[in-house]
Symmetry: C2
Subunit: 500 residues, 2 copies
C-alpha cells in the first residue's frame, strides 16, 4: 500500500471516530505533544491535552458528510488532507489537516476547521437587521453600527432583558430610548439588539437561556457581563459601538475581558428614560468600542457638553484595591507608580454598595420574579433571592453607609483620577473552578463599586495584557480611570497620556 | 539562514504583498500548477490560475494585522505556517498555509483562510431574530426555521421587496400573510426576512443594493432568483424552509442552481393575501427545502387537503424544451426515456406568457417606478421599461394567445406529468459573459413558462449533477415535474419513484 493509501485510510478512520465521538480513537489519531494545533472560528488550541479536553467538553462534533477529499503527499512522512464537508444542518464546511507519520502511524499534527455561519449568533444577538434602524444621513457617527443591550427601548421591538419569559410578555416599544436616539441622530445605524445577563444582574456574561457569547480575545473565556452581547458584538467586529449599562461593572468588566474601550458615564448624565432599570442609584449608560475616537464620539453625541468639566492629569492609586486582584493583574499594574490613597476598609465600601443595589434590584424586579418562578437561571435567581432578604431596616442602614462612603471617597479623591484595574482578573474560562469564579467576582466588585458609590465616570482602557498559560495570545486586562463627575470626555483625552 | 528563517521571511513578504494588493508578487508567492488549493468560507479554488483570477476580481484583501505566527518545519522543503489575524473591522481570523520550496523559493501550495462572521449576511437576509417570530408550540413543523421572502407581510415588519427606496416608504405590516401564518401554525419559527431580486422580476438572484447571496453548491455561481435569499439561507443551513414565490421560475431556478427541493404550488391554491404581487395571473406561493419530507410538510400545512388530487406516474418529456438547454444539462437528462410530447412552438408559448406577465408587472408597480426614477438597478429597470411598452392592444392579444396556449397545453398533457430540467443550465458564474447569461435566461424561461401558463404545480428535485470545470464538486441541476393542478402533494410522493 502506498503512503497515500495509508493516509486515506487514516483519514476515514478519523472521520468515523469523529462521527461516533470515539474520544480514545480521536486522541490516538492526533499526534502527541504540546506543539500540535487545532483551530476553528473560536481560536487555536495548542497541544494534545488541550485538544483532547476540548473534545471531551463539546459532546460530539456536528454530524456531517464528506463531499470530497484532496490528498497531497508532501514527503514519505507528511501529507496534507483537505476535505469539503456537508454538515447535516446544511451549508458547506472545510477541514485542512496536516498528517504526519509518528511511531509508524499516521496522525494529525495540525487541523483547521471551518463550519458554515449561522443566520444569527443567538448568544450575542436577539435581533439584527441591515440595519435594524437607520440613523441620520449625516453626523459624526455616520458609518458606525450599534449593538443595543436588550434593556433599551427601540421603537417597534420589545425589551427582553435576557429572559425569554419576560420577552414573551413584553409589547413592542412605542418609542426609542434617548441613549439610542442620540446615537441614531449622530448618524450611527442600529445593527441589532444584543443579549444581556438576566436583568443585567451579573458580571459573568453567561446567559442560561441564550448561551455564552464568545470572547475572541480569550479562547474559552467568558465575555464578561452584563453587557455581554454588545461587548462581544464589538470585539467580533459585528458592530462598532456597544451601547450598554453599568451598575456594578457591567461595561467595564466585559471591556476589560475582551480588550475593548469602555466608558461608564457619570451617573445621571444620560437620561434613563425607556431603559429597564436594575438599581437606579447606580445604573449608568455607557459604550464599548474598539477605538478611543469612536468612544469619544459616542460620549460627545450623547452627553450635555455644557456640563462636562476639564480634568487634570493627577493620577492616584489605591494599593488596597490591588490586593483584591489576581497575581498576574497585580504584576501588570506594577508599571504604574502613582501616589497612593488609602480607601480604608474596602469590604465596608462594597457592603454599603451591595445592600442598596440589592434592595433596589428587588424593588425593581421582585414582583415579576415572584410571579414567574423558574424564569431565571440559578445564578441570577440566587442573587435576587439574596436581594429579597434586604428588609427596609437593612436598606435604610445601607443607605446611611452608602452616603458616608460617598462622602469619604469624594473627600479623598477630590478632582484626582483614580487608576485601578477594570477587573480583578482576566476573563475566567467557562470551565473555571467555581471557587475561582467567585473569588474573582468578589475581587472585581470591590474595584467597580468605587465608581458606583460616587457616581463618577469610569473609563476602561485596553492597555495591558498578561500571559495566558497554553494559549498563543496574551489576555487583556483594562486600566480603569475613575475621574470627577462630568469628566467623561476629559478622561478619554487623558487616556492617551497614560498610554504614552 | 535556516529554512525556518527563510519561511518566515517569505511569510512576511506575502503578507506585505497581500496588504498592498500586489498581484504580481502574490502570483509569484503562490506555487505554480493546477493542483494548488485556496479555501475560505465560499469554497475551495483549485489551481494557480483560478486563485490568481480570484485575487484580481476581489480588489484587495481586507486590512488586518498579524497577531501571532506559528511555524512548523516539516522537511527541508515544506513548512506549515499558521497565523492568527486581527481584521481591521474587528474579531479574529485564522490562516493556515502550506509552504513548499519550489525552484529555490518558498511558495504557498495550499491555504485555508477563516474570517470572522458578520452579524448578518445582508445579501441573504434583511432582518433575523432568535427567532424573529415564534411558531406554535406544537405541530408537524416544530423545530423548523423559515426564511420569508421579503414580499410577504410579517406583522410588525415592513415589506422591502429588494428595493431600499421602497422599504424606506413602507409601514410595518399590521398582520401576517396566510402563507406565513400557515407555517407558524404548524410550529415552524420564522428566523427572518430574506432578500429577493427587486420586485421579484428576475431569475438571476443578483440584487444591486444588497448584493448577491452565495451559492454554496457552485463556487462563484449566482444563487438564482428571485427567491434568492430564502434559497441561499436554506442551502447555507441558516434556515430549513425558504418561503418564496414563483412567477416565472423564481422558486424552481434557485432550487435547481443550489441543489434544493423546490415546489411552486398550484396557482391559486394558496391565498395571496398580504403578499406583494408581480403578475397575479402567474404568481404562486412555494417552498424550498433540503429534504423532501420537510417540503411535503410545508405543503401539507398550507394547502387545502380536500382539493388535492392523486397523480398517476405517467411521465412525459418534451424534446423541444431540451433544445433550449446547455449541452451538459441535456446530456444529464439523457438518462430519462419517457414518452415524448410535442409542445409546438415554444417561443410562441413564451411570448404569450411574457406579454401578459409584463403587462401585469407594469400595472402592479409602474406607478411607483415612474415616481421613483433611479430606485431600481439597471437590469430590473430595463425589464420594467420593456413592460411599460405593452399597450392595452398588445396585452389583449397576449391574453388571447395565453388562453389558447393554456388550452393547448392542458389538452396535450392531460393528467400526465411533464419531466423537464428546472433550468436550462447550472448556476452561471457571477463573472459569466453577459451573452451566456442572456442565453441561459432565455432558455430557462422557455422551460419555466409551461407551469406558468397552465397554473400547474411544479416540483424541482435535486436529482442530477454535472461536472464543473476547475471545481472539486459537481454542480446541481434540478429535475422538474409539472403535474396536474392540485397534484402538489402527489408530485412530491412521485419524486421518490423517479429518483429510484
Amino acid at each position: 500500500m502506498s503512503s497515500r493509501d495509508d493516509v486515506e485510510t487514516a483519514f476515514w478512520a478519523y472521520e468515523r471516530a469523529l462521527m461516533a465521538n470515539d474520544l480514545d480513537a480521536l486522541d490516538e489519531l492526533f499526534a502527541p505533544g504540546p506543539s500540535i494545533l487545532r483551530g476553528d472560528a473560536a481560536g487555536i488550541l495548542v497541544g494534545h491535552d488541550a485538544i483532547s479536553q476540548f473534545r471531551k467538553g463539546r459532546g460530539g462534533a456536528p454530524a456531517r458528510e464528506i463531499l470530497h477529499v484532496e490528498i497531497r503527499e508532501l514527503t514519505d512522512a507528511t501529507a496534507l488532507v483537505i476535505a469539503i464537508t456537508a454538515p447535516a444542518t446544511g451549508g458547506r464546511g472545510q477541514q485542512s489537516q496536516l498528517w504526519t507519520l509518528v511511531d509508524g502511524a499516521w496522525r494529525v499534527s495540525a487541523a483547521h476547521v471551518s463550519l458554515p455561519a449561522p443566520a444569527i449568533n443567538g448568544a450575542v444577538w436577539r435581533t439584527v437587521g441591515t440595519p435594524l434602524v437607520r440613523g441620520a444621513s449625516a453626523g459624526p457617527l455616520r458609518g458606525e453600527t450599534v449593538a443595543v443591550k436588550d434593556l433599551y427601548d427601540v421603537a417597534g421591538f420589545a425589551v427582553g432583558a435576557g429572559i425569554p419569559a419576560y420577552l414573551a410578555e413584553a409589547s413592542p416599544a412605542t418609542g426609542t430610548s434617548p441613549a439610542v436616539a442620540a446615537l441614531l441622530a449622530a448618524g450611527a445605524d442600529v445593527t441589532g439588539i444584543a443579549q444581556t445577563d438576566e436583568f443585567a444582574y451579573s458580571i459573568a456574561g453567561r446567559n442560561p437561556h441564550y448561551g455564552t457569547p464568545p470572547n475572541p480575545a480569550v479562547l474559552g473565556g467568558v465575555p464578561g457581563g452584563s453587557s455581554s452581547g454588545p461587548a462581544s458584538a464589538v470585539a467580533l467586529g459585528q458592530a462598532s459601538i456597544g451601547l450598554g449599562t453599568d451598575t456594578a461593572g457591567s461595561i467595564r468588566v466585559p471591556a476589560s475581558y475582551q480588550g475593548l474601550w469602555g466608558l461608564r458615564s457619570t451617573h445621571g448624565s444620560v437620561s434613563s428614560d425607556r431603559l429597564l432599570p436594575l438599581a437606579p442609584t447606580f445604573d449608568s449608560v455607557g459604550w464599548m468600542t474598539r477605538s478611543a475616537a469612536i468612544l469619544r464620539a459616542c460620549a460627545a453625541a450623547t452627553l450635555d457638553a455644557t456640563k462636562q468639566v476639564a480634568v487634570e492629569p493627577s493620577f492616584v492609586m489605591a494599593p488596597a484595591l490591588l490586593e483584591h486582584c489576581e497575581p498576574d493583574v497585580r504584576a501588570a499594574f506594577s508599571r504604574f507608580a502613582f501616589d497612593a490613597v488609602d480607601l480604608g476598609d474596602v469590604d465596608e465600601l462594597f457592603l454599603a454598595f451591595r445592600t442598596v443595589q440589592a434592595a433596589e434590584a428587588w424593588a425593581t424586579h421582585g414582583a415579576w420574579i415572584s410571579a414567574h418562578p423558574g424564569a431565571l437561571g440559578e445564578d441570577v435567581a440566587g442573587r435576587f433571592a439574596f436581594a429579597s432578604t434586604i428588609d427596609s431596616a437593612a436598606e435604610a442602614s445601607g443607605r446611611v453607609a452608602l452616603a458616608a462612603a460617598r462622602n469619604r471617597l469624594n473627600a479623598l479623591l477630590g478632582d484626582r483620577v483614580l487608576v485601578l484595574p477594570s477587573a480583578s482578573s482576566t476573563a475566567p474560562s467557562v470551565f473555571a473552578d467555581p471557587e475561582l469564579i467567585e473569588r474573582t467576582r468578589q475581587g472585581t466588585l470591590r474595584l467597580t463599586c468605587i465608581a458606583g458609590i460616587t457616581g463618577r465616570p469610569a473609563l476602561s482602557i485596553p492597555l495591558l495584557t498578561v500571559p495566558q498559560p497554553g494559549a498563543l495570545l496574551r489576555a487583556p486586562v483594562g486600566v480603569c480611570l475613575v475621574g470627577p463627575r462630568f469628566g467623561d470626555l476629559a478622561l478619554i483625552d487623558l487616556a492617551e497620556q497614560l498610554a504614552g
